[in-house]
């Protein structure tokens, strides 16, 4: 049986990769994908701890995280489409002005 530590380390690596994506990439869609990667990394840790404790609550939380991620993607992509229509760009460096 693979130790829980191994899964948590893998989860941390994936989470850091996602964070780097959020901070380094300038394309709004790629930033969104990196956020999804971070959520997934958290899910891996949750499921690993659920197995560790022999309880299913961790898995139920993962279920909720997936649902919330789906809602977030729906709203976020709609926002990106709306922004692209008005600004003709999804580069987040060009979107830092809080104006219509």
């Amino acid at each position: 049986m693979v130790q829980t530590e191994a899964y948590v380390i893998l989860s941390v690596v994936l989470f850091v990769l996602g964070t780097m994506g959020v901070l380094l990439r300038r394309n709004a869609i790629l930033v969104f994908m990196s956020v999804e990667l971070m959520l997934n990394a958290a899910n891996v840790a949750l499921v690993a701890f659920a197995r560790q404790w022999g309880g299913l609550d961790g898995q139920v939380f993962v279920f909720f995280v997936i649902t919330v991620a789906a809602a977030e993607v729906a709203i976020g992509l709609a926002l990106i489409v709306a922004i692209f229509r008005s600004r003709q760009s999804i580069n987040i460096d060009e979107l830092h002005l809080m104006e219509g």
Binding site: L14, N27, N43, D93
Partner: protein
């Protein structure tokens, strides 16, 4: 190295590689495809972590629905080419790399130092249920006491309680007729329960009553099978058997009839046995004479994933053998569903997490409405600089003129003036 470790290393490496490639690829479509690969790897890790239901949800929702949405938006916007613009903050990349490395080392150290694996899974508390198969007159309904405290009240004949958790230890079981004073309780036996045990107490026999402790097995049943235990509480005969005579319930040849349980003495139980889950037509017969049918079991359902306990009990009947008529007490209990399977996750979700589930459903609904509103308002907003008035390519007058064959311009004084839009709006319905 076990095969699980090898699988973990390979799948984990592919997951990390896919994440890195997602960060580095120039094309947004390639990034999305690498992210799908990463999600599939994570789903595989869920399978290794005994979460098959979540693995399927991960594939369907993440790799399916969400990533299709991403790809759709990328292609819709034509944003697959990632524009290499001038970085406004040149110090950002090295700073991010250093911070990420520090974070990685800090968390890894704390995970490795923190002795994550020392926690043991908790042992379950013992559970107990009581079945009433005691046929003596005056005790149709009984109260059962454990250590002189009421455990169950008004337990009627052929009924059983649900499983109830209680602390481990030794219990003096006693009973009296339902509603009777506690001073009149009749002691039965002493039962000791240990953690993790699942026991059924069957109260049977002749006055003053006997108590049998049947250890039940509620562990997970793989496949389409059911678990069966048979207990003999029919004291009028020295032994009974359970046979499978076929649907017509006639035993033509006692030598060849299939025997399920053979020679079960009163007070004895079989060991739990796995049988295919289907409808059975069985019969209880005398152990020494298979042609003497005691009690037929017509269309007895062995349900998938259930643990059944069949008790052959006696009911007072002065015309029957030794004053007892055989009756059936059938108990069943749901076995533990497979860890991480849809049944177990669903049970937890709909029993303990109903309110969060409703809230999340509301959130999804709000997100759906929000997405529609966002795209709607973006699409409906008029482009700046364009005329808001609808342009009619052919004036109505020329259509009428073409149909009637003569010019109607002079005969329609209420025709709208092009430079008075307010009047036009009012006159439009009248003109039509």
């Amino acid at each position: 190295m076990s095969i699980e470790v090898i699988l973990f290393v390979i799948v984990g490496a592919v997951a990390v590689a896919a994440a890195v490639m997602m960060l580095l690829s120039e094309n947004a479509v390639h990034s999305a495809l690498f992210l799908i690969l990463n999600f599939v790897c994570v789903a595989f890790l869920f399978l290794l972590l005994e979460a098959p239901f979540l693995a399927l949800v991960q594939i369907v929702v993440y790799a399916g629905a969400i990533m299709v949405l991403f790809l759709f938006v990328i292609m819709l916007l034509g944003a697959e080419r990632v524009m290499q613009t001038v970085q406004e903050f040149t110090w950002q990349s090295p700073a991010v790399l250093v911070l990420a490395l520090i974070f990685l080392i800090a968390v890894s150290l704390s995970v490795l130092q923190g002795e994550v694996d020392t926690q043991e899974a908790p042992v379950l508390a013992p559970v107990l249920r009581v079945a009433h198969a005691f046929p003596v007159d005056g005790f149709d309904t009984v109260d059962i006491y454990l250590n002189n405290e009421l455990f169950v009240a008004d337990l009627s004949f052929r009924e059983a309680t649900d499983y109830q958790t209680l602390p481990e230890g030794s219990y003096n079981v006693s009973y009296n007729s339902a509603g009777d004073d506690i001073a009149n309780i009749i002691p039965l036996a002493t039962v000791s329960v240990e953690p993790g045990q699942v026991n059924t107490l069957v109260f049977y026999g002749t006055a003053p009553g006997q108590l049998a402790v049947i250890e039940d097995d509620l562990s997970t049943i793989p496949g389409r099978e059911a678990r069966l235990t048979v207990f003999n509480a029919y004291t009028a005969l020295p032994a009974i058997s359970l046979v499978d005579p076929g649907s017509d319930l006639t035993i033509s040849n006692a030598e060849t009839v299939p025997v399920i349980v053979e020679n079960l003495e009163p007070g004895a139980a079989t060991t739990p046995e796995l049988l295919p889950a289907e409808r059975k037509t069985w019969a209880f017969v005398r152990a020494d004479d298979f042609n003497q049918l005691l009690l037929p079991l017509r269309d007895f359902r062995l349900d998938r994933g259930q643990s059944h306990l069949i008790v052959l009990a006696g009911e007072t009947d002065e015309f029957a053998t030794a004053g007892l008529r055989p009756v059936l007490v059938s108990l069943s209990a749901r076995t533990t569903p497979q860890f991480g399977g849809p049944a177990s996750v669903g049970q937890l979700l709909f029993i303990e997490y109903v309110l969060p589930l409703q809230l999340v459903a509301l959130l999804l609904l709000a997100a759906m409405v929000g997405a529609i509103v966002l795209t709607q308002s973006a699409a409906a907003r008029p482009k700046p600089g364009r005329e808001t008035r609808r342009k009619v390519s052919r004036p109505l007058t020329s259509v009428i003129a073409a149909q009637t064959g003569r010019d109607v311009m002079e005969e329609s004084p209420r025709l709208p003036e092009p430079d008075k839009p307010d009047e036009e709006k009012q006159s439009e319905p009248a003109g039509n």
